[in-house]
Structure formats: C-alpha cells, structure tokens
C-alpha cells in the first residue's frame, strides 16, 4: 500500500506526515485533526450546546450545534436527555405542543425545569409560536410530522439557523441536519412474577448527520437506575446478558 502511494508521488518522501499533508491538500478531504479542531473551535466560540457525555458519541460535533435542526425518533426520554446538560448550563429550552411530556422524568434525566418553558397548547400555529420563541430560547422542541407542512418546517429550521437556536423535533423533520434514531431495548428490574420495579433500560441510539454518510452508534442505559443516562459498558453487559 505504502509503496503504491509513494510511487505516485514525485520526490518520494514516504514519511507519514508527507502523505497526510498531500492527502489533506486534496479538495474536499478533511483530516481527523482538522475535525477535532473544528469541534474545539465550535465549542470555544459558544456555537455548541453541551449534551451529557453519554450522548456525545452520536452527535457529529459531540454537542448540539447552534443553528441546527435535530430530529429524534423512537424515544422521548432520549429527547429529554439531550436537553439536560444545556439547560443545566444556563441555556433555555421550550417544549411546544407536547402536553404529555413527563416532567418528573425530565427532572430525573437532569433537565433544569426552571429553564424549561412549556407551551403545551400552542393552538393552530405551533410553528409561529416556536419561531417567536427562538428570539430568546436556545432550544425549541416541537412535534415533527403531522401538522407541519414541509414549507413551514423549512422556514422554522431557517429561523433556528438565523437566531442560533437548536430545533429538536420529536419524530421526522424534513431537512434535519442530524437524525437520531432510538431503539429502546430490554428493561431491567422487573420479571414475569411481578417483583421489583422498572429500573433501567438499554437503548441503542444511531445518529446520522446529513452531511456525512457515517452512522454513529452507541448503547446507553436510558434511563439508568438513577433516572439519568448511564454509560454504555454496563448497558452492553446487560444487553449481552439478556
């Protein structure tokens, strides 16, 4: 392999550095260190809202990029978990049009309820309410799919981009930059004889960015025994055991 590569390059500097430099000079190619630098730059410039460490792995920039739209399908607990770190760090979030969101669960997942505004019944024009919320709120959660036309969905995403907010849609959202698909797995803590109580659930989350074909995947306990998201090793162990 290395021989083949060096043979195409005049001068024949077959050091790794040289190869990387040549590769990086090709248009459209990004090296891993550049990606890392992007991440560091984005979070330093405040363009990234933090998420809990367990969920970083499924997001392309390891956080919620301001101005982006994220769709979450399959699990509301995962959606609430995305809000936890950002609201605890001082950002505001608003949940529009979801009157049945479990707020005790949200608090258990680490969401700061003081900074979680609720607009359970936004009326016929939820998109307009969400748009005006972006004036001061960093994250707006909205049910995707029914009730939102593709055009108004695009407009709202554009609004989020313009105001530097993050739109999180529960369910599919046309034009979402990041799509998280959650597959809830087995529950721990209960059996068929009625003993115990629900304590933890494994969940496999797949994150796909629109800009890259790479699929990021992680397995976590969501919720874990404490009610929060917990790391994957235990989750994997449980999954193997079950």
């Amino acid at each position: 392999m290395a021989g083949a590569l060096t043979s195409t390059v005049p001068g024949g500097t077959d050091t790794v550095d040289g190869a990387v430099a040549r590769l990086a000079s090709l248009p459209g190619l990004t090296t891993a260190s550049e990606v890392a630098a992007d991440v560091a730059g984005a979070s330093a410039a405040g363009k990234l809202l933090p998420v809990v460490p367990e969920l970083e792995a499924v997001l392309p920039l390891r956080g919620l990029r301001r101005g982006s739209t994220v769709s979450v399908t399959g699990s509301r607990a995962a959606l609430l978990a995305l809000l936890a770190r950002a609201t605890a760090a001082g950002s505001w979030a608003a949940v529009v049009g979801l009157p049945d969101v479990g707020l005790v669960a949200a608090a258990e997942l680490g969401v700061e309820l003081r900074r979680l505004a609720l607009v359970p019944r936004p009326g016929p024009d939820a998109v307009r309410v969400a748009a005006s919320l972006f004036d001061g709120v960093d994250i707006v959660v909205l049910p995707g799919g029914a009730g939102t036309t593709a055009a108004s969905a695009r407009r709202l995403s554009a609004r989020a981009r313009h105001r530097g907010g993050v739109l999180i849609a529960e369910g599919r959202w046309p034009g979402a930059e990041v799509e998280l698909t959650c597959a809830p797995g087995a529950w721990d803590g209960v059996d068929e004889f009625g003993k115990g109580y629900l304590s933890a659930r494994t969940m496999r989350i797949r994150g796909r960015g629109r800009s890259s074909a790479q699929v990021r995947e992680t397995t976590v306990l969501l919720p874990g025994p404490s009610g929060r998201v917990e790391a994957g090793e235990q989750a994997l162990r449980l999954e193997v055991a079950s």
Partner: protein
C-alpha cells in the same frame, strides 16, 4: 424680574461636541431622547402662595407632617431648609408664611403654565406639577438654536402665566431636569459627562424619578457614606456589582447616573384597545363627580394594563366638552406609587393624575364653556411590568453571571408568546409532593412566583427526590417520559382472558397477561411489577377510592420493543384500568 437667561454650555468646545455626537450615533439605541424641560422653581410654594394670596416676595414654606417640604427663595435665604420642623423654620424666619401641602392645588394651578409651554412647543408632557418636558428636536429645528428657544419660552410663560421658569435641554429626563436647575444646555450625547461631577445627592432631589420610590433616601445616604460622592463615581461601578449590592433601586439609580433613561427603551406602540373611555349623559362640571369617575376609569385602565403585564409610563388624558372643545394633556408617570412589584403606575397614581387634570380644567382660568361629556384615558407609552421583575428574579439561580442575560432574553420571548396565546399558555414546571408522575408536577404560568425557593437545592439538582417529606407509595426513578394529561383507558386480562381486578386488600386478582390500550389490540405482557396500593384522599367522597399502580413491560412482537406502561387500577370506578404514563 425678567433677565437674560444665564446659559452655560456644559459640554466643551465644538470639536469635542462633534466627536461626542459621532460616537453617540453608534449607541443611539441606548441614548434617551433629547428633551427640553421647563421647570418652575419651588412650584409647591408658588402655587400655595397664589392660592393663599401670599405675595411671592414674602418668605413662605409648604409643610407636610410638620416638616418643610418646599420653601421659597426668600425663605431659603433666611435659613429655612427642606426637612426642618415648623418651629425651627419659624425661629430662623419669624414672618414665614406656613402653607399646607396639596398636590391637587399644585396640579390645578400648573395647567396654565403647561398650556403656555404648549403654545410654543409640541408634545408637552407634564412630568409633575412644576415640571413639563417636551421633545427638543422639533422645537430646536423651529427656533434655530437653544438660546432663542429658551429665551422665547421664558418670556412667553412669564407673560402668559405670570410664572418664572428655568429651562434645561439634555438627553434624558433626569439630565434635563438637572440642566433646568442650572439653566444650561447639555450637548447631545454628553449627558453622562454633564452628570459626572454632580453630587450623588442629586438622585434624591424632590421630583427626581428616584425620589418617588421608597428607600431612595437610604440609598443615596448609603452611597454617600460609601464614599461615592459624585454621580460619575457611582456610574463607573459595573452594573452587575450595583445590581447585587443595591438591588432594583440601585439599578435604577445607576441607569440615571449613567445618563440613560430609567428603563430600557421599548419602542413598541401600545395596542390601540388599551384606551378606556366613557361618555356621560349629563355633562360633568363639578370636581367631585370628576374625582369619582377618575377613580373608576383609572381602575378599569389599570386592570386592562395589568392583564397584559404592562404598566403605563405616559398617560394621555383627553376630554371633550358638550360644546365640542377638545381638552388634552399627557402626564408622565414614573415609578413609586405601587412600591411592591415594579408596576410604575398603579390605579391610584392614574386616578390622581386624572383628578388633578380635571380639577385644573374645571377650575382653571380658561375653563371650558360647558361640562365634559367624554373622557378618554390612553396609555401613550407602556413598558412591560415584568421587565423589572426579571431583575428581581435574577438572584434566584446565581450560579453563572452569563445566565442573567439569557434569562432576560428568554423571559422576553416567553412574554411575547404569552401575548399571542394568553398568560396561561406559557408555564414552567415545579416538582411538588405527590405520588403519581402527574400529581408531582405543578405548572406555574410564566411571570408568577414559582414558590420553590425554600427547597431550592433539591429541586435545582434535578434529581427530583431531594424533597423533604417522604411520599409512601411513590415509585422510584425512572419516571415515565410520557404522562397523559387525561388518563387513557386500558383493559388488562389474565392468561385466561378474564379481566384483572384489584382486591379489597390492594392485590391483583391475577397476574396481568395481556394489555389493550384505548381499545387497541391485546399485547402480551413480558414482565410486570406491582401493585403499589394507593389509598389517597379517603376523606373526599368525590375521590377515586382505593387504587393501585402497576408497571408492565410489553413483549416484543406486536408491541414496539421495550415499551413499558404505568397503569393505574381503580377499585370502584369505570374504566377500571388507565394508562397514566408511558416509558417512551
């Protein structure tokens, strides 16, 4: 009596003025409007002397609760000072005329002055009896320069109303008032520099915005004792420090000392339907009737404003008489009157102003030819009453100073949504005591007191379990991520297909084997837990009676994987089973 006004230029040479103007254009949004203020020195005394027939060159003072609140220049030169007891004052000036304080009289006699100013300058607001303010730009464009404007105004008012006035021009009401006391003109954008060398006690002069608030005297005294002798020294303190040390009043004082308006500018025009008006079948020509009506209309207006979380800062009072004369006057209303929650003008303040205005119309020299048939109160300028509450509220979290701005921005956005949908539509949640996932949540409309400060640390850490009182029967974490606002009916059967019921002792008649939700298909139960009996509200005949909670995990195939439900089984009611929440 009339002399050339002694006018100083407060800001330096023209070149400097030009540079100030240039730099100010960048911060134009911050800069308050340029105002011309017409000030009658010692107005309460002047008014009282006129009303009591005391000649103006006679030493006189107005007393309230046995203390001097205002005295004439002659009395002052004889050693009478504000705050003196009557006996002291009379001792230093034996022939002092003792007059009683009466805001209604002050307002009534001031109307001719306001009317005289209005003949030359448009957009006149009465700040309080004794002071009128008007936007300076138009008047300056008409009269050419400040000196001509001041000279013409002084001549005109003294000819028409027989009152000596002083005039000041500056950015912002506070600076313009102080400029009027000194008869000077402050260049545009130079208010801060003009204020800097002035003593900090100017904040508390009678009639300044701050003086209307409770505690302003203590604040100014405290600043002085802390060694902050000039407004400039106070203005140099960082805003955050001022807010944490001196609170809301301190913030207000700090804005004033910085040459800013007393609250951030809000250019929105108030919605038209905020005005209240009333037409009378019998024209009003007596002050007592007017006072009664003023009270009622003021209450109505106040309720309207409060319902939208607004407060009025400029109030327009309009009246039409039977013979078609239109009377109008705009009053500035600043803080003070309400005291408690930052609503600048409560009903009381509105009513007072309406009554005074009526007084002056009905008893003035140029009284209308007939009684008033229509009265309209229109808020000309409103601010969000919550604007100041946000500042109060910022102490709450206190973990990160950068949050304050975010909190304020978010608060405004939420208020905006409340305007769209109504105040109840936006809420934040507080976790309270209770057993079920829905009972533990209390939604507090945005702007109301959350009332969770006492158990702050627990609620803040978000664990939801750090509350004081234990709730036996409450399920441990995790809680369902979906909680139905209205429970969904369900059917639960055992492995033979017979309905599962709860026994009198809170046990289940059989293990649940299959579950159907809201008339849907039957799903296999893979695992379950419970029951956790609930014997709540047994004293309430309308309550549900004994019940139990059961968690079920539905088997894969048919139902989505990992689907778990929180069910509630009631003993006596139908439907027996309900889905309270889903672990989604």
């Amino acid at each position: 009596m009339r002399s050339q006004p002694a006018v100083d230029r407060a800001a330096g040479p023209p070149s400097e003025g030009a540079s100030v103007a240039a730099e100010s254009s960048a911060v134009d949004a911050q800069r308050p409007a340029r105002l011309v203020v017409v000030w009658c020195p010692d107005w309460p005394v002047t008014a009282a002397c006129v009303a009591a027939g005391v000649p103006l060159h006679h030493p006189a003072a107005v007393f309230s609760a046995n203390r001097v609140v205002a005295c004439s220049a002659v009395a002052r030169s004889n050693g009478v000072r504000r705050g003196m007891r009557r006996r002291e004052a009379q001792a230093s000036c034996p022939d002092l005329a003792v007059l009683a304080v009466d805001p209604a009289r002050d307002a009534r006699l001031f109307e001719p002055v306001a009317a005289a100013v209005e003949e030359l300058v448009v957009g006149v607001d009465v700040v309080r009896p004794g002071v009128v303010a008007a936007p300076a730009d138009g008047a300056l464009a008409y009269f050419g320069d400040e000196y001509r404007l001041m000279e013409t105004l002084i001549d005109h008012v003294s000819a028409k109303a027989g009152v000596e006035v002083q005039i000041g021009i500056a950015d912002g009401l506070f600076a313009a008032l102080l400029a009027a006391r000194r008869s000077c003109v402050v260049e545009p954008g130079a208010s801060r520099r003009f204020l800097a060398p002035l003593p900090v006690t100017e904040l508390d002069q009678p009639g300044s915005v701050l003086a209307e608030y409770d505690g302003s005297e203590e604040l100014v005294d405290l600043l002085r004792r802390l060694g902050l002798r000039t407004l400039g020294q106070f203005a140099e303190l960082p805003e955050r420090t001022v807010s944490s040390r001196f609170g809301r009043l301190g913030m207000l004082a700090h804005r004033l000392a910085n040459g800013l308006s007393e609250r951030p500018l809000d250019r929105r025009r108030p919605p038209a339907d905020l005005a209240v008006d009333e037409t009378f079948d019998i024209p009003i020509s007596r002050v007592e009737e007017a006072a009664y009506i003023a009270e009622r209309l003021a209450d109505e207006l106040h309720a309207k404003l409060a319902g939208r979380n607004l407060a009025c800062t400029r109030l327009g009072i309009y009246a039409r008489t039977e013979s078609g004369e239109e009377l109008s006057r705009v009053w500035r209303c600043s803080g003070g009157e309400s005291g408690t929650n930052g609503v600048p003008v409560a009903a009381r303040g509105i009513a007072d102003r309406v009554r005074w205005q009526f007084d002056s119309w009905l008893q003035g020299e140029q009284r209308p030819r007939s009684g008033v048939v229509t009265l309209r109160l229109e808020p000309e300028e409103v601010v969000e009453a919550g604007l100041l509450q946000l500042h109060l509220w910022r102490g709450g979290l206190g973990d990160n100073p950068a949050d304050d701005q975010a909190d304020e921005r978010a608060g405004r956005a939420l208020v905006q949504v409340q305007r769209l949908l109504g105040p109840e539509a936006v809420a934040t949640a507080v976790l309270d005591g209770g057993r079920g996932p829905a009972e533990r949540v209390r939604l507090v409309p945005w702007g109301d007191v959350r009332g969770d400060e006492a158990k702050g640390a627990g609620a803040r850490s978000g664990s939801g379990q750090a509350e004081v009182a234990p709730w036996p029967g409450r399920l441990p974490a995790p809680s369902p991520a979906t909680v139905h606002p209205e429970p969904v009916r369900a059917a639960v059967v055992d492995h033979r297909g017979r309905p599962v019921r709860m026994t009198a002792r809170g046990a289940l008649s059989a293990p649940p084997a299959r579950v159907a939700v809201d008339g849907g298909p039957l799903w296999e139960v893979a695992a379950w837990a419970g029951p956790w009996p609930l014997d709540e509200r047994w004293w309430d005949p309308g309550a549900d009676g004994p019940a139990a909670r059961v968690q079920v995990v539905l088997a894969e195939g048919g139902a989505p994987a990992g689907k778990a439900l929180l069910l509630r089984c009631r003993d006596e009611r139908s439907p027996r089973w309900q889905v309270e929440g889903e672990y989604t």
